[in-house]
């Protein structure tokens, strides 16, 4: 099977789906001639023309809002927000409108559209470009939120997202575009939305993560293995739908849990993971869950980002603490 980087896998999915379904359009800033600032859409305009691959004006709200109109008209837009941090500019379109079109119109209209947006740090990008604001979008009922961690998943989840009849916010790990590489089948396949993935099996502690942080969790698992601790790594893949069953299973297996994310601690999605475990698997817990996250501060300038983003050592240290906790 060919090995692809994540950005190649994403591009591959877009090619395939534009070929298969002529309702698919790709719109966004610099997605056409340039092929995207990270080349995720490279070659698409050449192949599918300027009508289907559209360089949009610099205006996130109308990129999202017109995507909704396109979807209502019968198209299947894949809209790129150049960086998730600029998703705030489109928030009033995404939460109250895109997510609710089906509901508000009592099923007459739908919003089968995908918003792609890269996020996350450690690649020395300017301010705002790295902000991990995924949790802010979780409370937008009607919206699904997809967070691939591997190239394989990026392709399969993106194909599933575009085909999904509900709107999807598809968040791509910026630093994974070139760094994440794995085997990706050539043709068509989908990965079901809402099914978590066991990235690594283990028995002593579960590390729950998503997107680029899964790799870091696996590195932490390596460190833990050196100390004789067997870590189970659960890649959520989607924040919505959340795979509650997979979480419960993992918690029951290990009794001890760490959640890791790139966003600040307070009100990060880690809080929901803990609350969900409290709801569904409280008695399986043998120790408090530990959150390993950024501090409650903005994503900083590049010079100090290495202090900010959780690394494998911090995750491993927290996991060790959790494992060693005696109630």
């Amino acid at each position: 099977m060919p090995v692809m980087t994540m950005v190649e896998a994403i591009r591959d999915a877009l090619f395939l789906e534009m070929e298969r379904d002529e309702r698919v359009m790709v719109i966004g800033q610099d997605v056409g001639r340039l092929g995207g600032v990270f080349r995720a859409t490279d070659g698409l305009q050449e192949k599918f023309g300027e009508d289907r691959v559209v360089d949009m004006p610099l205006a996130e709200a109308v990129i999202a809002g017109s995507a909704l109109g396109l979807a209502v008209s019968g198209m299947r837009p894949v809209a790129e927000i150049q960086f998730l941090g600029f998703g705030h500019q489109a928030f009033h379109q995404i939460g109250p409108h895109i997510a609710r079109m089906r509901y508000r119109s009592q099923g007459r209209f739908a919003a089968p559209l995908t918003i792609r947006a890269p996020f996350g740090g450690l690649v020395r990008t300017p301010e705002h470009h790295c902000d991990a604001i995924e949790a802010q979008f979780v409370q937008c009922p009607g919206l699904k939120i997809v967070m691939p961690a591997t190239a394989y998943d990026a392709k399969g989840l993106l194909l599933a997202s575009i085909r999904d009849d509900d709107p999807v916010l598809f968040c791509e790990p910026l630093r994974g575009y070139r760094l994440i590489k794995d085997e990706v089948p050539a043709g068509d396949y989908t990965v079901e939305l809402g099914k978590a993935r066991v990235a690594r099996e283990g028995d002593d502690v579960t590390i729950i993560a998503w997107s680029a942080m899964v790799k870091t969790a696996e590195q932490a698992a390596d460190l833990l293995a050196e100390q004789g601790v067997s870590a189970h790594v659960l890649d959520l893949r989607c924040l919505v739908p959340l795979d509650v069953e997979a979480i419960v299973e993992a918690v029951e297996r290990t009794g001890r849990v760490v959640v890791a994310h790139e966003a600040p601690l307070t009100a990060g999605f880690g809080a929901e993971v803990i609350a969900t475990i409290n709801d569904e698997a409280f008695y399986a817990l043998e120790a408090p869950i530990r959150r390993v996250t950024a501090p409650d501060t903005p994503y900083p300038l590049a010079g100090v980002e290495d202090f900010y983003v959780p690394n494998a050592e911090r995750i491993a240290a927290a996991a060790l603490d959790v494992v060693r906790t005696v109630a």
């Binding site: 809002g65 979807a71 959340l242």
Partner: protein, 360 residues
Amino acid sequence: MVTLEPQFSPTDGAAEPYTVLLPDGTLRDGATPSMSDDEVVEALRLMLLTRTFDDKAFRMQRQGRFGTFSQVRGQEAAVTGSAAALDPRRDWVVPQYRELPALLRQGLPLKQFILYFTGNPAGGGVPEGVNCLPLNIALAAQVPHAVGLGWGLRQQGSDAVVITYFGDGASSEGDVHEALNLAGIVKAPVVFFLSNNGWAISTPRSKQSAARTLASRAIGYGMPGVVVDGNDLLAVHEVTAQAVRRARAGEGPTLIEAITYRTGPHNTADDPTRYVNDEELKHWQQLDPIDRVRRYLTARGRWNEEIEAEVDAQNKAIVDEAFAEAAAHPAVHADQLFAHLYHQFPSRVSRQRAEFAAHS
């Protein structure tokens, strides 16, 4: 040093609104009406119907039997004249919330509108075949939707045109700018119909913008801009029909500003006596758009008191029946919190749905 005067000056935005039908019901010199007498009669019936509805719904609201809503009072010509320029079978209406005549003409059952304002989620539904988007309360958010809708229809080979309505207040939102700009670029077949009714709740047009006219903004998006007397059914129809033709022919969008006036309160929760000037209100009441059409049709022998009485009786019956239908609609139930939210529900939401069903 004073050689380089700005090329663009605020006064470049000044314009006299177009008129065809004068307040006394006669045609402006040299004007030919763009609507047949039959069409005007049809329009007047619709304008009267919505006024009948506005009156009844307002009374019902006061009795606690209807929700907070905004009347179209005073703006009937602007909404009706523009909607009359559409072909309801292929063209689309993307409304704000004060455009009942346009929705009715597109075929929305009045019952749906009533259900919506009695707070029944079913009221958000738009029957298959009716080319309207749901009402939009979050101001200006609908304007980008209209652009995408028009663009997408054209992309699929249709010659449909989309009209979207928004207020002078809504025009200040960033969404309107972004949408007008995109429409200019992709030549979306969209008519942007700005109902300048003088107010955004208590904020007068003069505090909404220093622009002489809001239609002058069209220049900055590379599209034509028109200012029209919004209380003049025929002028509104004519400029909208032209814009629709341009859009249908692939020549792109138009921004129309209809100068009209909200002669009622902003909505049933509002007390305009706190801010509306009496003189100004009286002035505009005298320019009532319905009276004008009545005079016109009367002079042409197409309207008289009998017809008025008959239409009034019919309209009352239509409105009463719609309220009755709405009242007969199945009672609201908790499952409506969930219905239609997803095509494929996340299991957690399905579980909540089952729990709510069990508890109510």
